[in-house]
């Protein structure tokens, strides 16, 4: 087998079994599912709370609930009228009711309602009570107005002329969150795999395995074998996550939060292209810096600086979303390190002009190739430099040197110089 593929295969299979990777791949979706489950359980628990206290009495001193109407959320048997406070008090003491509300005489001007119970009132019951009152107050103003319209007066349907997508209010949250989740997963995935890449290079250097590897494979075979192997690992991770997302949306249609959400396939394809290119850029940077770094610690410093560059768009989410086709969004779409995130966020919300997508992809591709080329040179040069700090000036010199002069440089470690 080609040595490049051997390196790729080894990097893929070895890192696939790492606990850190398994956690990232399976832990993140499981964690997300668990969070969803908890949220739904809490909501469901809140709904049953309204019933936990039993029937609730009320005394209507303001005369607003004479012959009351019941909106859909309020079962007629929940609230029972009592003629005066003594009767309601008696019912509470007998435990016929769990609580009662006293609507004060000047309620219409003050909104004052007193509540009496032995146990305190659940939040859900109070909300239910408000809906009940609102419905009956509305009827006094205009019997034709539905209570739902008072509660939720606008149900916006956005018909975007340029994309042809019709957005209804129900899937707007999904459109905000799906790009965000994508961007986050994207960052996690390329961050994890390029981190593995850097760690691997640093390990091989500090343990001097590099020296044996250097007699078996060329520096380029080693570098690109690693990039390919770990890139496939990142793709594996994405496939698992997308699969989980697809299943969640597919089987979660019954849940109110996911109702009507469509898995955006077109967005996913563009994202895949961005992922591949930006992973390639990130990985070549990390590999180049990994081989220059003398230690784990030093490499982590480099890694964190690079990571920050890639997540700059996260700090600018507000600016990008407010004006998805504005100058800030455009500039960050064209800068290679910030382009993937920015574009993902923009593509979710609006139609990005095709020339911008193409320009952004071309700039990213060109930069990635340039960095890969430079990184391969640095990689070859720094392979066996131990225990010396490399300066930026040295790196720049190596990259600019004519190619036949770029050879492995073994820095003279202290031992080598003693003579």
């Amino acid at each position: 087998m080609n040595k490049l593929l051997l390196v790729a295969r080894r990097e893929y299979l070895f890192n696939l079994r790492r606990p850190a990777f398994l956690f990232a791949v399976f832990g993140v979706p499981i964690f997300t599912f668990a969070m969803w489950a908890i949220i739904f359980l809490v909501v469901a628990a809140g709904e049953s709370d309204a019933e936990s206290i039993g029937t609730v009495g009320y005394v209507d001193n303001a005369a607003i609930l004479i012959d009351p109407i019941y909106p859909t959320d309020v079962p007629p048997e929940r609230f029972v009228a009592y003629p005066d406070e003594t009767a309601a008090r008696q019912a509470l003491d007998d435990k016929t009711i769990g609580a009662y509300f006293l609507i004060t005489e000047n309620y219409l001007s003050t909104g004052e309602v007193e509540s009496y119970s032995f146990t305190g009132l659940p939040e859900a019951l109070r909300d239910n009570w408000e809906v009940f009152l609102l419905a009956n107050l509305t009827r006094r103003l205009d019997p034709d107005v539905e209570v739902e319209r008072i509660q939720d007066p606008v149900n916006m349907v956005i018909r975007a002329q340029d994309t042809g997508r019709t957005l209804t209010e129900a899937n707007i949250p999904a459109l905000i969150f799906i790009p965000l989740i994508f961007a986050f997963l994207f960052y996690m995935s390329s961050g994890t795999t390029s981190g593995f890449l850097m760690n691997g290079v640093v390990e091989e250097k500090t343990t001097r395995i590099m020296e044996i590897l250097a007699t078996s494979v060329t520096p380029s075979q080693l570098l690109f074998g690693k990039i390919i192997g770990l890139g496939l690992l990142g793709l594996t991770q994405m496939v698992v996550w997308f699969g989980a997302g697809f299943l969640l949306i597919h089987f979660g249609q019954g849940l109110p939060a996911l109702n009507g959400v469509v898995f955006p396939l077109d967005l996913m394809l563009i994202m895949l292209v961005y992922f591949l290119l930006s992973y390639f850029l990130l990985a070549t940077m990390m590999a180049g810096l990994g081989v220059v770094a003398g230690s784990d610690q030093e490499s982590r410093q480099y890694a964190s600086i690079i990571s920050i560059l890639f997540i700059i768009p996260f700090f600018l989410i507000a600016a990008i979303l407010e004006d998805p086709n504005g100058p800030v969004a455009l500039i960050f779409s064209l800068i290679p390190v910030t382009a993937p995130m920015t574009m993902l966020l923009r593509l979710g919300f609006s139609a990005v002009p095709a020339w911008q997508v193409i320009a952004s992809l071309l700039i990213l591709l060109f930069t990635a190739l340039l960095v890969a080329w430079a990184s391969a040179r640095v990689f070859r040069w720094a392979l066996l430099r131990y225990d010396v700090r490399t300066t930026l000036r040295e790196i720049v010199n190596v990259v600019r040197r004519p190619s036949h002069e770029v050879a492995v440089s073994a820095a003279h470690s202290s031992e080598e110089v003693v003579s």
Binding site: M1, K3, L6, V7, R10, F14, E203, E204, T206, T207, R208, I209, E211, I212, L213, A214, T215, S216, V217, T218, L383, L384, A407, V408, S409, A410, A411, H412, E415, E416, V417, V418, S419
Partner: protein, 305 residues
């Protein structure tokens, strides 16, 4: 250049900035021999090895390995054990050996078969599923050597193979090296243990400050450094023998006397005198050949002057 040479080195020089690590070195390593590279720390041994392996490029000079410049195919016929050693720590022993062997061109199946056989041989079979970090230092060194020879190379270049090994493991390694040589393999090794060179190596190259100091068959070099003197053991008045300039009592090691001979007198002359004399009774008679250790120290001291 002789077609038989496993390695042919011609006038190589390597500078690290202003520091000249290797200075106009030329030598050949013949196929099937054990070739020692000697020299104090920092004398340029490792740099020379790295240049032979094409990890480093010489600034000047030419190197041919197996009859030509080092190609990918030639690299697969070489094994290298660097001085500063390491293994993938979190990886299982067998898995790592298989990976390293496949990088040298073996198929997965063949690499696995040979790794298992090698682990049996080194009495490490029961550790094959363990991670490298769980092994003792001695075991790790044996594994490292195993990785060097697993692909059955024609040439191995080993930097300080015995450093850190206990006597038992040194013996295991020595056997493996002789076995490798018996199969026709060529060995280039650097070591600081001169007794091992005397015992194992056919020829040697000694360098200091990047320059050649000694080069040739081990026996010839030792004889070159022989004093015009003999070592004797027995009874009698040695100073009375004709041709003996002065008598020195050997202090280190074996008992006996060191007889320094007058100019123009050969050991044969003295032996003849002893045979005919009745003043002396001989038990042992040998040429005063210095140990490589003595030669090493002498060469280094001389080059400081």
């Amino acid at each position: 250049m002789s077609p038989e040479a496993a390695i042919h080195v011609e006038g190589i020089t390597k500078n690290y900035g202003a520091f000249r690590a290797v200075d106009g070195l030329s030598f050949d390593v013949q196929r099937g021999e054990i070739f020692a590279m000697l020299g104090p720390n920092g004398s340029g041994k490792t740099t020379t090895m790295r240049m032979i392996l094409d990890i480093l490029k010489p600034d000047n000079g030419r190197i041919a390995v197996m009859g030509g410049p080092l190609t990918d195919a030639t690299k697969d016929r070489i094994g290298y054990l660097p001085e500063e050693r390491g293994l993938y720590r979190g990886v299982r022993v067998l898995e790592m050996m298989v990976y390293m062997a496949t990088l040298k061109g073996l198929s997965q199946g063949e690499a696995r078969k040979r790794s298992q056989a090698m682990l049996e041989r080194l009495e490490l079979a029961e550790h094959s599923k363990k991670k490298v970090s769980e092994l003792s230092k001695g075991m790790q060194q044996k594994i490292q050597f195993a990785v060097t020879v697993l692909h059955q190379p024609d040439l191995i270049i080993i930097d300080e193979p015995f450093s850190g090994l206990d006597p038992v493991n040194s013996l295991v390694l020595k056997d493996l090296l002789f076995e490798f040589k018996a199969r026709g393999g060529t060995i280039v090794m650097s070591t600081h243990q001169m007794s091992q060179v005397e015992e194992m190596c056919d020829r040697l190259l000694m360098i200091n400050r990047g320059q050649q100091k000694l080069y040739g068959p081990v026996d010839t070099i030792r004889r070159q450094y022989a004093l015009n003197a003999i070592v004797v053991q027995g009874k009698g008045d040695w100073s009375a023998l004709p041709g003996v300039a002065r008598v020195e009592t050997k202090e280190n090691g074996t008992k006996g006397y060191l007889l320094h001979l007058k100019d123009g007198v050969t050991p044969d002359n003295v032996l003849a005198s002893i045979a005919t004399s009745n003043l002396t009774q001989i038990e042992r008679f040998e040429l005063a050949v210095p140990s490589l250790n003595d030669i090493f120290i002498r060469v280094v001291e001389e080059s400081k002057l």
